[in-house]
C-alpha cells in the first residue's frame, strides 16, 4: 500500500490506541485497588496485545518490543506466576505511561526520553526474570495457582518430540480483511509447523443475490499434525486475534477419529463454540454499552440543526398564537407537545458531545506519578465521579488548569514525609478529586491533606507586592483567595500553564475563560480544597439580553456583577469623554456599550444620565466597569455561534447567537471592551504627544 493509503489506517490505529491505553490504565488501576475479577487482567492484556499487533503492521519496532515486554509481564500476572501486588503494579503503571509516550512519539514524531524507556524495560524485565527461566511458555490450561517451582504437570509439553494432531476452526470477520490480513498467509505459516489439511466451510455463504461483497462468509476447518506446542500455533494468529473466531483443540490422541470430528463441525454454530482462551472480543471490565465512532463535524452539524429546529418551532408557535381562535383549535396543545419533543431532542443531541471525565482523571494519576518521582513525596490519588459527563471541549480545556492545581497541591500543599511524620500524619499524602453535577454546572473539587495555606505568609506577600495595604482588614477566606490575584505569584511565564511555578492567577483566568469560577478553602495543618465550577458545555451559556445602540446584544452572565439604575447624583463627567459612576460608593468608569461597539450610540450624557441601565461587569483580572445600555430585555441561555467560521474575529465581540426570531445577536466580549478602553486611552495619549 502507498503511504497515502496507509495514512488513514495509521490515524485509525492511533485513535484506537487512545481507547486501548485508557482500558489499560483503568484496568491496572482496578488491579492496584485489588480488583479480583479475572476479566480485568484479560482486558489489560488484550489492550497491550492489540497495541502490539497494530504497531507491528506499521513496523514500529520499539513500540512492538515494549508492548511485548509488557505483555509478558501481564501474561505472568494472569497465570499467577507473579503476585498482583503494588511491587508489580507500580512498574506496570509506569510502563503504561512509557507506552503512551512511545505511541505519541510514533504519532507526532516527538523526541523520546530514551532513559525512561530503558528504565521501564528493565523494571519489566526484573518482574519476570526469576520465573521466566524456571517456567516454560505459560499455557492457559492448568497453570493457574502454580508457584514458580516447576512441578511436573500433565501438560502439552511432556515431550517436544511427540507430535499430535490439532483441530482448528478459523472463521475471519470482515475486519480481518479490512486490516489487510490474508488468511492464505496464516494457513501457509501454519503449514510450516507440520502437515496440514484444510477444509473450506461454506455453510454461512448466502445465495448470490443476498451476498454482500464486503462481508466475510468463509471459514476453514484445519487439521494440523505437529510437535509444536499450542502457544506456537496461537502465535500464528497473533495479529488477527479479535478479528476472527478461532478455536484450537487437541484431538484425542488414542483414536484419531477424524470422520466423527469433522462431521459435526460444519453444522455446529461457530459462534457458540467454546473457545479455550478468553474470548477476544473486547469486553472491558467496566461494563460499557456498545458505541460507535462518529466524526465530530457531523455531531456539530446535528447540534446546529436542532437549534434551528428550536428557533423554527418558536416562530411557528408565535404565528399560531396570533391566529384567531388558536387557543381552541388544538393547535396550541399540539405545539406544546412539539416543544417538549424538541427540548428532549436538544438535550439528547448535546449529550452526544458529552464524555465522562475519566480520561481526564487518568491523566492526573499519571501526573501524580511523575511529580512523585520529581519531589520525592508519596501521594495517593483518589477520585470520585469519574463517570460524570461533560462536553468534550470542556474536558480538553480543563486539562491545563487541573494539571496545575494538582501540581500545586503536591508542590506546596503536601508536606515532606518528615514533616508529615512530625505532624502525626501518614507519610503518604492524599489528594482527592471529586467531579459532580450541581445546579446545571459541573463542579470539580481538589482536596489535599497537606499543610493548608499559610495565611500569615500570603498576607505578608500580598502587602509586599502591593495587592493590599497593611491596614486592610481581611477575613480568612479573603486572604486565602489572594493567591488567585494577578501579581501574587513571582513567576512571569503565563503562557506555559502546565509548566511548574505558574501563578494561580493564570489558572483562574483560564477557568474564567471557560465561563467558570474557582475558589479555595483551607484549614491550617489539615489541607486545602480548591473548588472549580464550569458550565456543562461551551456551546451554551447564560447571558443577559440587552439593547444598546439600537441592537440586541448579549452580555455573558459570568461577567455580570449587578445591574443598577443610575441616579443623577451617581454619575459625573471627568474632563472630556470620561464618565464615572459611583456604585455603592465606589467610582467605576461608565461606558456606553453602543458607543464602545461603534454602533453610533449616543454619547453618555452627563446631565441627565438616568435613562437606561448600568451593568456592572468585571473582566478576568477583576477590573470593573459599568456598561450603559438602553434596556434589559431578558436573561436566557444562548447557543454560542462562531463568527470566525465564516468571517473573522472582531474586537469587542466574543461570538454570536441566534435569537428566537432567527436573527443574529452579538455576544459582548467584556474583556476586550474593558481592555480596549485602556488601549484607546493610550492612543489618545499618543495622539496628544504627536500633536
Amino acid at each position: 500500500m502507498s503511504p497515502e493509503q496507509l495514512a488513514p489506517i495509521r490515524a485509525q490505529f492511533f485513535q484506537e490506541c487512545v481507547d486501548l491505553l485508557a482500558d489499560l490504565e483503568t484496568g491496572l488501576d482496578a488491579l492496584e485497588q485489588g480488583d479480583p475479577d479475572p476479566e480485568t487482567i484479560n482486558t489489560v492484556f488484550r489492550a497491550a496485545h492489540s497495541i502490539k499487533g497494530g504497531a507491528a503492521i506499521f513496523g514500529m519496532g520499539e513500540l512492538v518490543q515494549f508492548a511485548h515486554d509488557m505483555e509478558n509481564v501481564l501474561d505472568a500476572l494472569r497465570g499467577g506466576q507473579i503476585p498482583a501486588g503494588p511491587s508489580t503494579l507500580k512498574p506496570l503503571l509506569r510502563a503504561a505511561d512509557v507506552l503512551s509516550d512511545l505511541i505519541a512519539a510514533e504519532r507526532d514524531g516527538q523526541p523520546l526520553d530514551l532513559a525512561s524507556v530503558a528504565a521501564a524495560t528493565a523494571a519489566l524485565a526484573a518482574l519476570t526474570a526469576p520465573e521466566s527461566d524456571a517456567l516454560p511458555e505459560p499455557s492457559d490450561d492448568d497453570l493457574d495457582g502454580l508457584t514458580f517451582a516447576p512441578v511436573p504437570v500433565n501438560l502439552d509439553l511432556d515431550g517436544p518430540a511427540q507430535a499430535r494432531t490439532w483441530r482448528l476452526r478459523l472463521r475471519p470477520y470482515a475486519d480481518l480483511y479490512r486490516k489487510a490480513n490474508d488468511p492464505l498467509l496464516l494457513l501457509s505459516e501454519l503449514g510450516g509447523l507440520g502437515p496440514l489439511s484444510v477444509q473450506l466451510d461454506t455453510t454461512a455463504l448466502p445465495p448470490l443475490d443476498a451476498l454482500n461483497p464486503e462481508e466475510s462468509y468463509l471459514g476453514w476447518t484445519l487439521e494440523l499434525h505437529t510437535a509444536a506446542p499450542e502457544a506456537e500455533i496461537r502465535e500464528v494468529f497473533e495479529f488477527v486475534e479479535g478479528d476472527c473466531d478461532l478455536e484450537i483443540a487437541k484431538t484425542p490422541p488414542p483414536e484419531s477419529g477424524q470422520e466423527t470430528a469433522s462431521a459435526d463441525i460444519p453444522s455446529a454454530p461457530l459462534d457458540e463454540a467454546p473457545t479455550p482462551r478468553a474470548a477476544p472480543t473486547p469486553s472491558p471490565t467496566i461494563a460499557q454499552p456498545p458505541s460507535i465512532r462518529v466524526n465530530l463535524e457531523r455531531v456539530d452539524r446535528l447540534v446546529d440543526l436542532v437549534s434551528e429546529l428550536v428557533i423554527g418551532e418558536a416562530a411557528l408557535a408565535e404565528r399560531v398564537s396570533a391566529l384567531p381562535g388558536a387557543s381552541n383549535s388544538g393547535a396550541t396543545s399540539a405545539l406544546d407537545d412539539l416543544r417538549r419533543l424538541t427540548r428532549d431532542l436538544q438535550e439528547s443531541v448535546m449529550a452526544i458531545r458529552a464524555q465522562p471525565v475519566r480520561s481526564l482523571l487518568q491523566r492526573m494519576s499519571r501526573l501524580i506519578r511523575e511529580v512523585e518521582a520529581i519531589t520525592g513525596k508519596s501521594v495517593a490519588l483518589t477520585t470520585e465521579g469519574e463517570e460524570t459527563e461533560v462536553d468534550r471541549a470542556v474536558i480538553e480545556r480543563l486539562t491545563d488548569p487541573l494539571t496545575h492545581m494538582i501540581r500545586n497541591a503536591i508542590d506546596h500543599g503536601i508536606e515532606s514525609p518528615a514533616a508529615r511524620a512530625a505532624a502525626g500524619k501518614p507519610s503518604e499524602g492524599s489528594i482527592h478529586v471529586v467531579v459532580a453535577h450541581r445546579a446545571g454546572r459541573v463542579v470539580i473539587e481538589v482536596t489535599d491533606d497537606g499543610g493548608g495555606i499559610d495565611r500569615e505568609r500570603v498576607h505578608a506577600i500580598a502587602i509586599d507586592r502591593g495587592l493590599i495595604s497593611a491596614t486592610d482588614l481581611l477575613g480568612d477566606e479573603e486572604i486565602d483567595n489572594l493567591i488567585f490575584e494577578p501579581g501574587f505569584s513571582t513567576t512571569e511565564h503565563a503562557s506555559d500553564l502546565s509548566g511548574r511555578g505558574v501563578g494561580m492567577d493564570v489558572v483562574r483566568r483560564s477557568v474564567q475563560a471557560l465561563g467558570g469560577r474557582i475558589s479555595v478553602t483551607s484549614r491550617r495543618g489539615q489541607g486545602a480544597s480548591f473548588s472549580l465550577s464550569l458550565p456543562l458545555t461551551l456551546a451554551v451559556m447564560d447571558g443577559m439580553l440587552v439593547s444598546a445602540g439600537g441592537q440586541c446584544l448579549v452580555v455573558p452572565l459570568t461577567a455580570l456583577v449587578e445591574s443598577v439604575k443610575p441616579k443623577a447624583g451617581d454619575v459625573r463627567q471627568l474632563g472630556a469623554g470620561v464618565t464615572v459612576m459611583a456604585i455603592r460608593g465606589t467610582p467605576v468608569p461608565l461606558i456606553d456599550l453602543g458607543a464602545a461597539l461603534n454602533y453610533g450610540g449616543r454619547p453618555v450624557c452627563p446631565a441627565g444620565p438616568t435613562d437606561g441601565v448600568a451593568l456592572l461587569v468585571e473582566d478576568d483580572t477583576g477590573e470593573r466597569v459599568a456598561l450603559r445600555v438602553d434596556e434589559i430585555i431578558d436573561q436566557r441561555q444562548v447557543v454560542i455561534k462562531s463568527l470566525e467560521a465564516n468571517y473573522r474575529p472582531m474586537d469587542g465581540v466574543a461570538a454570536a447567537t441566534i435569537l428566537g426570531d432567527g436573527r443574529v445577536a452579538l455576544i459582548v466580549d467584556v474583556n476586550a471592551i474593558i481592555g480596549g478602553r485602556r488601549a484607546r486611552g493610550h492612543d489618545h495619549v499618543r495622539q496628544a504627544a504627536h500633536a
Binding site: 473573522r648 474575529p649 472582531m650 454570536a656 432567527g662
Partner: protein, 157 residues
C-alpha cells in the same frame, strides 16, 4: 433574457456561470461556488466593519457575513428590500452571502470566450474582476470570489 452561449461538448473547455444584476450592471460568478440563493432578510450590523459588509445573518444555524456587492464595487450602497437577493457562496471553507439586485441566468461559456480583464486603474476593482465576456450585446464581468471580502483574516485595526 440573454442568448445562451453555444454549449461546448467538452465540459472542461467551458465554465458554468451565474449572472446577476447589481444596479444596472451585470456580473457573474462561477456557478460551482454557489450554495444557494435566497431572499433578503435583515442582517445584524457588525461593529467596525467596512461599509460593504452589511452584517451577519443566520443560515440554518450558521452565522455568515453579507457583502453588499454594490458597495464593494464602489457603487452607491444597496437599500435592500424583500425583493433583493442573497447569493450564498463558498469562499474556501467560508460561507458568505452576496447581496445583489436580481439573479439573471445560468449559462455555460466556453473558456476561450473569456477575456482577461484589462488593468482597471481602480483600487476597488483591481483583482476583483478577473475576466469579461460578451453575451449577445452585453459585456458581463466575472468576479473573483477570493477578492470579494477583503482582509478576511485580519481583525479590525
Amino acid at each position: 433574457m440573454l442568448d445562451l452561449a453555444p454549449r461546448d461538448p467538452a465540459a472542461e473547455n467551458s465554465v458554468e456561470l451565474i449572472t446577476f444584476r447589481v444596479g444596472d450592471q451585470e456580473f457573474c460568478i462561477d456557478a460551482t461556488s454557489v450554495k444557494e440563493i435566497r431572499g433578503w432578510t435583515p442582517a445584524t450590523p457588525l461593529p467596525d466593519s467596512p461599509p460593504c459588509v452589511r452584517g451577519v445573518i443566520n443560515l440554518r444555524g450558521a452565522v455568515l457575513p453579507i457583502v453588499d456587492l454594490a458597495a464593494r464595487l464602489a457603487l452607491p450602497p444597496t437599500e435592500p428590500t424583500a425583493r433583493h437577493v442573497v447569493i450564498v457562496v463558498w469562499i474556501g471553507r467560508r460561507q458568505v452571502g452576496l447581496l445583489v439586485d436580481a439573479v439573471c441566468d445560468i449559462q455555460t461559456v466556453p473558456r476561450n470566450q473569456l477575456r482577461p480583464a484589462p488593468n482597471l486603474k481602480s483600487e476597488a476593482l483591481d483583482g476583483l474582476i478577473t475576466a469579461l465576456f460578451t453575451a449577445g450585446d452585453r459585456m458581463v464581468a466575472l468576479l473573483a470570489l477570493d477578492e470579494v471580502l477583503p482582509a478576511l483574516s485580519e481583525p479590525t485595526p
